[in-house]
């Protein structure tokens, strides 16, 4: 973080646009680095250190203890089921929001982001009231693995919808019309023309939803509980903390952390792929959604810049 003499002056260089007001880039970078280190990096470093405190063997023993393995398995399997359902229903919902027209469509579009705005513990409580022993629908799935899946479906609902929606809006309808006039069936048109164009968005949405599902805690807690066979990894980690096994909690946390890092890398690769796909003229596929895990845009807006700002 050496100071950058050229940018330390208050008069910005011509053609460069606004520099950080009042501070030079070097000082700005130093501040950002310090903030990120204090808030994000140091805690994560402390976590990793704790996980390996007893050496690699202890770490491995903790991660492969029967309860830890069971929780990790449940988390991964439930998350996989959730993203498959998300991929299907997310695409259908995006489709009806873009191509269909019905009364109340604007309200439906607005309410899609509810899971991001509603506190997860409230979601959990409500799901229990809806699909628990007092269910008005007579559906009681509380404290089962199905409840884990339903809770995860709730919190991850917006990801695929918001990733696919802008691509559908941008999509050129001429190709579909040409295919239809040549006699292609609706399903063939979807499979050969629409689906390939949606793929980058769909893949990014699925990866983001998967990351969220792997780490989800609040929405699962009350509805699915912490029974031995409904315990996802985050609930397992909390129980280990409460019973004083910090090394075990940290070890499983590191596994989740590594999974998060891998998924973020995957999303960034998908976005690069989506952008290249677009530039080469191979289609209108454009991953418009930036890395907004918590916040796909309220509407279907397409940011051409994507998320590659960091690389230039």
């Amino acid at each position: 973080m050496s100071a950058h003499p050229a940018s330390a002056t208050s008069a910005p260089a011509p053609r460069a646009g606004l520099r950080l007001p009042g501070v030079g880039a070097g000082l700005g970078r130093g501040t950002v680095g310090l903030y990120l280190s204090l808030i994000v990096l140091l805690p994560l470093a402390a976590l990793t250190a704790q996980a390996f405190e007893g050496g690699l063997g202890t770490f491995w023993d903790q991660v492969t203890s029967p309860l830890a393995i069971a929780s990790l398995k449940l988390t991964v399997v439930a998350s996989l089921i959730v993203v498959v359902i998300n991929a299907i229903f997310g695409t259908i919902i995006a489709w009806i929001l873009v191509r269909d027209d019905f009364p109340g469509k604007a309200a439906v579009n607005a309410v899609i982001d509810l899971p991001f705005a509603l506190p997860t513990i409230v979601a959990s409580l409500t799901l229990l009231a809806l699909y628990g022993s007092d269910s008005p629908f007579g559906i009681d799935i509380a404290f089962t693995r199905t409840a884990v899946v339903v809770a995860l479906l709730f919190v991850t609902l917006p990801f695929v919808v918001r990733a696919v929606q802008p691509l559908l809006i941008e999509m050129d309808r001429e190709m579909e019309e040409a295919a239809a006039s040549l006699g292609a069936s609706g399903f063939t048109i979807f499979r050969r023309i629409i689906f390939p164009n949606l793929l980058p968005g769909l893949a990014a949405g699925v990866a983001l939803a998967f990351a969220r599902a792997l780490g989800e805690f609040g929405s699962v807690l009350i509805f699915a509980g912490g029974l031995p066979d409904t315990q996802v990894s985050s609930v397992f980690i909390r129980q280990q903390i409460e019973s004083g096994n910090e090394v075990g909690a940290a070890a499983v946390s590191v596994v989740l952390l590594v999974a998060s890092l891998l998924l973020l890398a995957v999303v960034s690769l998908i976005q690069r792929w989506g952008n290249r796909h677009e530039r080469s003229g191979g289609g209108t596929g454009l991953v418009g959604m930036s890395l907004d895990l918590g916040a796909p845009r309220g509407g279907a807006r397409n940011s051409e810049e994507g998320d590659d700002d960091g690389s230039r």
């Binding site: 011509p14 970078r29 009806i96 705005a117 579909e176 930036s290 845009r297 509407g299 810049e305 700002d309």
Partner: protein, 269 residues
């Protein structure tokens, strides 16, 4: 034309999509309000206006009052840095900023717990200085800042890229210094994007549960925010209390949704 010109498949898709949304989104939303007022207004209102309930509300607002301004100033500054100052380290900064989105809140809570705990790197030093981080407000603030860190940056970066630098160049050519350019040209141009990020940050801090529950210890009347209060009331079989606090949080969530949609329209206009 294309796929959906067949009215059968159009109705089928509509029924599937809307049916799914009704069961997963609409029903829960209706349920919160129904449950809270099922047995009259007295119980939920009592719960919120109890000393612990009021304290939880105040503490939640305090979290917002500290975390949101910090992350907003950081977010705008960081976005300017990423967009306007090319540097090879930007990719690293960008990657770190996305981390809180992907990491489990429980993992975030545990990380802070270990860093500031009695055996942690910072714990003993701070304890000697008489500074308490865990099981008190500073730790909860750190957790809130961590989980809500990316929103303002992520919402501001695309807007900054979109507005370009021409107006800023004009301002500086006319003799405006960097601060004047920022306040009079840049900030007005990006304000809706920043505001959108602020709304998302606020919603996240209001509702944060996992990370805060680990660092706070969830002590009633001391380190309990509203989401923690909901869980405690539920655990104590005080369901009207849990629903009463939930409805407050749900109303805040609906306000957030409304703000998101209004800001979205302003930004696109």
């Amino acid at each position: 034309m294309g796929v959906a010109n067949n009215s059968g498949s159009r109705w089928g898709l509509r029924a599937l999509g809307l049916g799914y949304l009704s069961l997963l989104l609409l029903a829960p939303l209706v349920m919160i309000f129904f449950k809270a007022f099922e047995d009259g207004l007295a119980a939920p209102i009592d719960a919120i206006t109890s000393p612990d309930g009021l304290h939880a509300l105040k503490l939640t607002l305090l979290m917002v009052a500290i975390s949101v301004p910090l992350n907003t100033v950081f977010g705008v500054g960081c976005a300017l840095l990423l967009v306007r100052h090319k540097w090879k380290g930007n990719a690293v900064i960008d990657a770190i900023i996305n981390l809180p989105f992907a990491i489990s809140p429980i993992v975030i809570g545990l990380s802070l717990f270990l860093l500031y705990g009695t055996d942690g790197w910072f714990g003993p030093v701070l304890a000697e200085a008489g500074i308490k981080i865990l099981f008190s407000v500073p730790g909860m603030v750190l957790a809130s800042i961590f989980v809500s860190l990316p929103f303002v940056v992520r919402e501001t970066v695309p807007v900054l890229q979109e507005i370009g630098t021409e107006q800023e160049q004009a301002a500086s050519t006319l003799g405006a210094n960097a601060w004047q350019t920022f306040w009079r040209v840049t900030l007005p141009a990006i304000r809706w994007g920043v505001a959108y990020g602020v709304v998302l940050t606020t919603a996240r801090v209001l509702g944060e549960f996992g990370a805060v529950t680990i660092v706070s210890g969830s002590i009633s009347g001391q380190t309990q925010t509203l989401p923690l209060f909901v869980e405690k009331q539920f655990a104590n079989f005080n369901l009207p209390g849990a629903y009463g606090a939930s409805i407050l949080l749900a109303l805040l969530a609906l306000t957030t949704l409304l703000a998101m949609n209004v800001l979205k329209r302003k930004e696109d206009a």
